[in-house]
Symmetry: C3
Subunit: 345 residues, 3 copies
Amino acid sequence: MFIKNTWYVAAWAHEITEAAPFSRTLLGKPVVMWRNADGSITALPDRCPHRGAPLSQGRIEQGQLRCMYHGMLFNSDGACTHIPGQSRMPPGADLQRFPVVERNKWVWIWMGDPELADPSLIPDTFWLDSPDWRYRPDYMHYQVNYLLISDNLLDFSHLAFVHEKTLGGSAAYAEVRSEIDKLPNGLHIERWHMDSTPAPFVTNLVGWTHNVDRWNIYDFVMPGILLMDSGSARAGTGARQGNRSEAVEFRSAQALTPETEHSSHYFFSQAHNFSLDDASVTDNLHAGLLAGFKEDWEMLHAQARVLDLDPDFKMMPLGVDTALGYFRALVNKNLAAERKLSAAA
Amino acid sequence: MFIKNTWYVAAWAHEITEAAPFSRTLLGKPVVMWRNADGSITALPDRCPHRGAPLSQGRIEQGQLRCMYHGMLFNSDGACTHIPGQSRMPPGADLQRFPVVERNKWVWIWMGDPELADPSLIPDTFWLDSPDWRYRPDYMHYQVNYLLISDNLLDFSHLAFVHEKTLGGSAAYAEVRSEIDKLPNGLHIERWHMDSTPAPFVTNLVGWTHNVDRWNIYDFVMPGILLMDSGSARAGTGARQGNRSEAVEFRSAQALTPETEHSSHYFFSQAHNFSLDDASVTDNLHAGLLAGFKEDWEMLHAQARVLDLDPDFKMMPLGVDTALGYFRALVNKNLAAERKLSAAA
Amino acid sequence: MFIKNTWYVAAWAHEITEAAPFSRTLLGKPVVMWRNADGSITALPDRCPHRGAPLSQGRIEQGQLRCMYHGMLFNSDGACTHIPGQSRMPPGADLQRFPVVERNKWVWIWMGDPELADPSLIPDTFWLDSPDWRYRPDYMHYQVNYLLISDNLLDFSHLAFVHEKTLGGSAAYAEVRSEIDKLPNGLHIERWHMDSTPAPFVTNLVGWTHNVDRWNIYDFVMPGILLMDSGSARAGTGARQGNRSEAVEFRSAQALTPETEHSSHYFFSQAHNFSLDDASVTDNLHAGLLAGFKEDWEMLHAQARVLDLDPDFKMMPLGVDTALGYFRALVNKNLAAERKLSAAA
């Protein structure tokens, strides 16, 4: 069960081209995407209505997509325009195009009721397409349900343990309390760790060994989007009061999209706004992020293997689980609302 | 659910020897086969009645098969002739031998009621054992239900797309209408493509670039046997009227046998009746066929992955589906008849 | 379904260290083990009560185990001693320690009611820790239910077939009748093969080609422990009457522990009491054993694949199955008693 009436990230913009169809399974449904001559993106079910062949095995012919099993041709609106060997278009030959919005390098898709697909609901990720920020876009595939990943992202106390030698650092980081505010569609979380040792990736990046005031300030919103302002400043220079003149700042955009009940897509990036002309800084920052995210990957797959052994296991809420508990409740509330809506329809 | 009272191809004749037992799972049942001194073939369940060990892990001892777990010995009729450590033969120790007929290099097996196993029901594949034809026997394993493969073989319009660069060629091939006649146990299909570019494999084989009149004339019969006369003649030389003096002719024998609900055996060959002394022609023809069959293999596995995502998906019949629709109905009719028969028994 | 109130082998002693936690899934439950400063072993569920992360991904901190997901800390009794970010210990934070006994190089664990964990029930394997015997400890992982392996160990007639060229030898070995005595928790089996060719591994080990009197005398007890005195003596020198002066003697300890319903742990060893200073004898004996055990592994996995094809298949008891039939009945009796006990509770 997935929430349908919400915007999901389907791809990085550069993944979708005019040359060849691109396939990704989203919310259990195969989706094929390609770019039209006007730059817009078409997303259709990646399943020929005829016999279920994946259209992504097909080819683009002058902006239309040809199924390469028996040759049905679909235009950029999903309408079937040719069936070899017959002139009549039978009912059911057209495919329904998914609403898609490309914004700031992410391709957003709406898998629910197209009537409700309001682009103004898409979260702002301006730094993904700004000359003031640099980053390397990336992607990981998880063989776990996406909620295990959102749990992970909603409690940064794990940085002190999972990421001790990468993104985290001192165990004291785990003792810090976050401030958590509810948003209509998620949470706002602020976590300050004052006068702490710098995270290993910061030391790697800018050479700092002196203590820092360190922050992670982020929104985590439906269906699983993390938008974060983070950074570190020389301890005591007033970063918390707004002075970032002695700070390194980052902007992170991370998006979870379920592939199936047991697998997930994870789109991520971490941007910097200094040394913009030095590609090695971008690379170094990305390498540090990736090292940490591989640690998450290992931990979450290990966790999933344990959970699979006993479906009756009940997790035990701790103080650190306030945010993720709230988010899971929000997910369930949305799922219940959609069930009610579809039962009424 | 598989049709049982019909002849299935179990193996190529050369696969079954006197030296060692050969195992293949057919219709969900493991079967062990070996060749007797008189040249006949014994086929038994590949499962020792004692503890279920596969007899095919055993060895042939003077024409009998020894289970190499605890030593039960079975003769060529399936009768148990020795149990180590005991002299009494308990009821249930004998195995039931499956009717087998070796004909024209194929080993046919009857998995249903032995009383009904009439060898005259076996389709004629004379060219598999004729000095007038040459071919290389081959086999592929599919991880899909056999009906997806029979669908594929019952609609050659896919040649224009799946096999554009191998067995097919021009997209116009897909616009041709087949003539379809119902047979009591299958279909007879005739497909003529007049004045067309030659298929790539024909150009490869005999160097033709001129246009051809091209035919595929075949029976497709229960349980999944394709018997085809195909070829190409210089366009306008009257092949359709019977003059094949300027033609290259082929005979194809292809057989599907379910392994399980989700996997299938595919035995195939394509024979030629010219340049019989030139092995490179046989090899070239086979290589072209295999290139095409690998394209089918890719497409059908991709199709099966899409179908697996949504068991509720209903295929949409097109004009090209007449033959396969009829064949699937015939399969269902046979299955229903066998269910009725076994309910009555 | 597994018997819980019995001692299982969880590990070889050398597998459990102070340095790092060790994980093994036993009876479907992940278990983490480590060695304490006093040499004792702690075994806990390998699942953090918080969110189910495997504790074995964690680290030992001064004798306590830290979960490296969010930092919960557990002492050697399983009590939670620290939760980052909160001072209150919520109910349910403690883990229940499994009773563990280390004896003669094997680590025994009790997965059932701790009140019933009586160390005196542990079978005697003195030769695993005696200066009079030498062996190499070993382990194999099986992807089959443990009962298929205990079936195998309860009927040595298979040596003549599965192990013809390793542990077995002449087919006549399979004709020998074992003497079987029931024990309260298993069976006592005696098998003598008089005046037989020696087993290939014995010829390899000591060069004998003359005939021997050969014995396998063993207890096979709950839950799946084989304790064997075996050997060969020059034929006619009175070994059966107690004279082992012209014999080579072995002691074998083998233990089965279910991992899941479909996989098993197999701990094994074969010790010798001669040429104690010659490590090549120990290695040679072990290599011979391992060659045979790989043959079992192949046969049992092949058997499991056949059994998986048809869950309705019923095995056919033969004379050789007396012991394994009795043992399976004993297993079922124990399972029924535990079900009754747990229903009453």
